[in-house]
Amino acid sequence: MEMINWHTCFFLLFALISCGFAIAIVASSNVVRMAFYLIITLGSVAGLFFLAGADFIGAVQLMVYVGGTLVLLVFGVMLTARSPFVSMRTGGSQWILATIVGGSLLVILLQAAFSVENWSGERIVQTTSAQQQISPTSTKIGLSLIGLRVDQLEQQDETLRAGMSGYLLVFEIISVHLLVVLVGAAYLARAKRRPLKEPSNSKL
């Protein structure tokens, strides 16, 4: 028996979990169940990131997306889930239209995916200590964010090097963007003071 490629096993596990629960989100009509399935889906997407060698991005996905954005979504679900609205069903015609559009897009994307040359992957020969070949990415990502592209230092082509600046400006922009967005969201979702019904005419 050939050696089982554990990387493939785990990839299949995470891929099946994420796709399966994503389809369950579409199929479910209870919004709380949908939130739970989304948590599982995004968690297994983080697993897929780890398997692709992006360890820092996988941890960021777990911390920011699952631990932040999804908590926000769950709060939103809890604040708006009264029982008549926990399950809402869509009409059949909309389902048919959505399936047609989605299906055609899926066909196009799959066709693009399968057209990658040699798609079954000629990878690094699997050794028993495969973890020694995975290099950590967090230092490189951190340094890129302050402008030093340490992953491209061996780029010999001068014309390509000229365009390889760091991501410092992007970092700054998304920081300010987050600040603006959060201020705006807090303002939008503030509890509005209800106006007084009548001017007080009490005889107290």
Partner: protein
């Protein structure tokens, strides 16, 4: 260790077996700590309140009280309320417990004695610890009662609010060390107790207290336990839980106390290095003999656990000494006091590390410019850029 075993049995069995053994060890550690600390809590709280505590089970000190409690909880009736969403009701305690248990994967207890040595250790710990809030919200929602939902929302708000200053406070020792790898951070504090990060600069000292406050708040221990306070909301999100499910929540709470204590010990109090470098004096290193290295690590493990237990006892002590904060006071403490303080201390620690790279009073040769510790930067400095991608975590034995 898995490579060692794989000489005898197929490597995939070796990995699976080692994984199971490590998982079993971590589970055992967590459960034993939980059991011991239920007893410690009852005894300490009793003594603070001028009474005795458990004295009947197991002799004069009642040390068999935790197993007795456990057996009682197991024998209780297993009920699910009628209005409850049964699936979420059943699964919520296990989510809290599993996230707390998974954090232990990345926490080292001695040099190299970590289940999975991650380059982004702290980040992983913070990410997984932040997932426990889902169990709480699910428990509150699925109980089908509005008191549970209120308690759960308050608790979730508190946990996620305190994650912000906690993360900022944890960035300070990471910045001082220059790496997120917990094993490296522990090794940098070897030597005398003056090498511990808490004595590195006054800003780290203050930020430890900020971290302690945030840790106590994020585990919902008093004085921040309004969401589960008996006099306010019955038991918050745990109201409808009884018997074994409640025991799982309880274990998750004590487990997260252990997690934050271990993090505090590793990042601030020298991890597995004692105040006096005994192993250095005795010459117990791996060069002497593998058994000597193992003995040194065993001593380090004892050190780490003793310090974590002291930290947990302080948390228990604080619970029974301070009055409870109201929810608006809890939020004010977080956003008006902890966050600006943590941010200011981060700035101060950064300036201090820049001004005195090797320490002011206590010279620690583990420091230098923080950039030199990372293999990428040292490779750049030495001109070996082509080999910067060689990568490599060291495997541990």
């Amino acid at each position: 260790m898995a490579e060692y075993l794989s000489q005898y049995i197929p490597y995939w069995i070796a990995y699976a077996l080692i994984g199971l053994i490590q998982a079993g060890l971590l589970l055992a550690l967590m459960l034993v700590t939980v059991a011991v600390f239920t007893w410690v809590e009852r005894k300490v709280s009793a003594r603070i309140q001028d009474r005795l505590g458990p004295t009947r089970r197991g002799g004069r000190f009642g040390w068999l009280q935790p197993p007795a409690d456990g057996i009682k909880l197991l024998l209780k009736e297993d009920l699910v309320p009628k209005n409850a969403d049964a699936f979420f009701f059943r699964i919520a305690p296990y989510i809290c417990f599993c996230t707390t248990l998974c954090v232990f994967m990345a926490i080292p207890f001695a040099d190299g004695w970590v289940a999975e040595r991650l380059n982004t250790g702290i980040f992983f710990v913070l990410a997984i610890a932040g997932l426990g809030v889902f169990g709480v919200v699910m428990a509150g929602y699925s109980s089908g009662s509005k008191w549970s939902l209120f308690g759960a929302m308050r608790e979730a708000t508190q946990v996620i609010s305190y994650e912000v200053p906690m993360a900022m406070a944890l960035v300070v020792p990471v910045m001082v060390a220059g790496t997120m790898d917990l094993v490296t951070i522990g090794n940098m504090q070897a030597g005398w107790f003056t090498n511990w990060f808490i004595f590195h600069d006054p800003f780290t000292f203050i930020v430890f207290w900020v971290y302690f406050t945030c840790a106590v708040a994020s585990t919902n221990r008093a004085p921040f336990d309004l969401p589960e306070a008996e006099s306010e909301l019955v038991a918050g999100f745990m109201t409808e839980y009884s018997g074994f499910r409640w025991a799982i929540f309880f274990m998750a709470e004590y487990g997260s106390m252990l997690v934050v204590s271990c993090l505090a010990v590793i990042l601030f109090f020298g991890a597995w290095n004692g105040p006096i470098p005994v192993t250095q004096f005795l010459g117990l290193t791996n060069d002497l003999h593998p058994i000597a290295g193992f003995a040194a690590n065993l001593l380090g493990l004892a050190n780490c656990l003793i310090k974590a237990c002291i930290c947990m006892t302080v948390i228990v002590w604080v619970r029974w000494s301070l009055p409870r904060l109201r929810i608006d006071q809890v939020m004010a403490t977080c956003w008006k006091y902890c966050v600006p303080l943590a941010a200011a201390m981060l700035l101060g620690a950064m300036l201090w590390s820049y001004a005195f790279p090797a320490g002011l009073l206590f010279r620690n040769q583990a420091f230098g410019y923080a950039s030199e510790k990372s293999d990428v930067m040292s490779d750049i400095k030495n001109g070996k850029v082509a080999r910067a991608e060689k990568g490599g975590r060291q495997t541990w034995k």
